[in-house]
Symmetry: C2
Subunit: 207 residues, 2 copies
DNA sequence: GGAATCTGACACTCTTTCGTGTCACTCTGC
DNA sequence: GCAGAGTGACACGAAAGAGTGTCAGATTCC
């Protein structure tokens, strides 16, 4: 009848850092480890223990921040998308679609500098839970593009075509980035951007 | 000292069909089951037992024809590529690249008629053992295209660009097909083909 | 200095799946 | 019709991985 087992209790600082910061740092290390492993060997070939080893932590701390590997996958993807958006969005806002080169330069540049991003965004996004998110991303890109591009043909009968063109452009850019990081295309990053811009301009119908 | 254990022994006919044909039929059913499951739920979500249940066979017969699930994956992909090639190659040989619409119509038509093919060729080809084969396929397509298209710009400084354009076109077509089977693009199959042909013609530099 | 928490290593159970084995039953060839 | 091969259902052990528990030592707070 005495007191029932007490929940965890207090949170103390350790080695000078408060508990919340320690936990956040461990989470960050796990996300970094996830980015590294998912972006190189791929999600399907990554185990919880692998992530822990890469992060230099034990499973206990994995489950402190994540419920499952899928949970970490989501977190890694979220982090990557935030990073990329932070790079691309300002460029869109200043240069806009009338001058697409800076936009492609920023986006493709970010990808080509880190092959892990290419693998994550182009290859691994096809995995189960991420497939829907991928489609949503493309659709979102279409909508933002159409909304922000004054030169786009927005007539109702062209809307499905614009949608198709956006998917085509996304697919083209992804496949080209993938081929490039795999050493299949003997061009410089700048030349890649040039060609993608050229494709964009030739494909896009202007009013 | 006596005779050692004899290997299986003879092969008899059963229910009227000879052993070799029975084995071949079982293999075919397993490949069909693989196509169905890999093309719908995906390779990663498919187990050996699932394939056997789908094929109406037991594991014994799975391992009669395949060493592992990866082995079946390879066989399924081989069968699919043969099918698609059988449809597309004759069209290329008769119509050629000067008139790309029949080519795209044949290829995309074959894909759009069977969503499982789209999933297999666009999504599942990124899986481990298949990734290399995928790259090879694209490269092969580039080479055949360049070799057979008299109008293509084959000057040495444009070769890497042609290579890039082929990857771009492959990525665009794949992504569009995927979006279409997922109901993201409100166009008819013919309109999809029209747009892809238009993209091809606008992208491709002619001499 | 001592009680309590934090940390890391690792042992442990549970589940899933693989690949093989067993067995009863069916069909074939002679 | 009978010895033996073919068939299908299922049992079985091995292996890998998930998620939890334990424990000793380090660190903190009072």
């Amino acid at each position: 009848m005495g007191a029932v087992a007490q929940p965890p209790a207090e949170l103390r600082t350790y080695r000078g850092v408060p508990a919340s910061q320690r936990k956040a740092e461990r989470r960050d290390r796990l996300v970094s480890a996830g980015l590294e492993l998912f972006g190189t060997r791929g999600i399907a070939a990554t185990r919880v223990d692998d992530v822990c080893a890469e992060a230099g932590l034990t499973k206990r701390y994995f489950y402190e921040s994540f419920e499952s590997l899928d949970d970490l996958v989501t977190a890694v993807m979220e982090a990557v998308l935030l990073d990329v958006a932070a790079i691309v969005v300002p460029v869109i806002e200043t240069d806009g679609w009338r001058n697409p080169r800076p936009v492609f330069s920023a986006y493709i540049g970010a990808l080509l500098e880190d092959p892990r991003l290419v693998r994550l965004l182009v290859v691994e996004t096809h995995n189960g839970a991420l497939a829907n998110r991928r489609e949503e991303m493309v659709e979102l890109a279409v909508d933002t593009w159409l909304a922000s591009d004054p030169g786009a043909d927005k007539s109702p009968e062209h809307l499905p075509v614009q949608r198709l063109l956006a998917h085509a452009m996304a697919g083209a850019a992804g496949e080209v980035a993938l081929a490039w990081v795999n050493g299949r295309i003997d061009l410089t990053a700048d030349q890649i951007v040039d060609q993608l811009v050229r494709i964009f301009e030739r494909i896009t119908p202007r009013v």
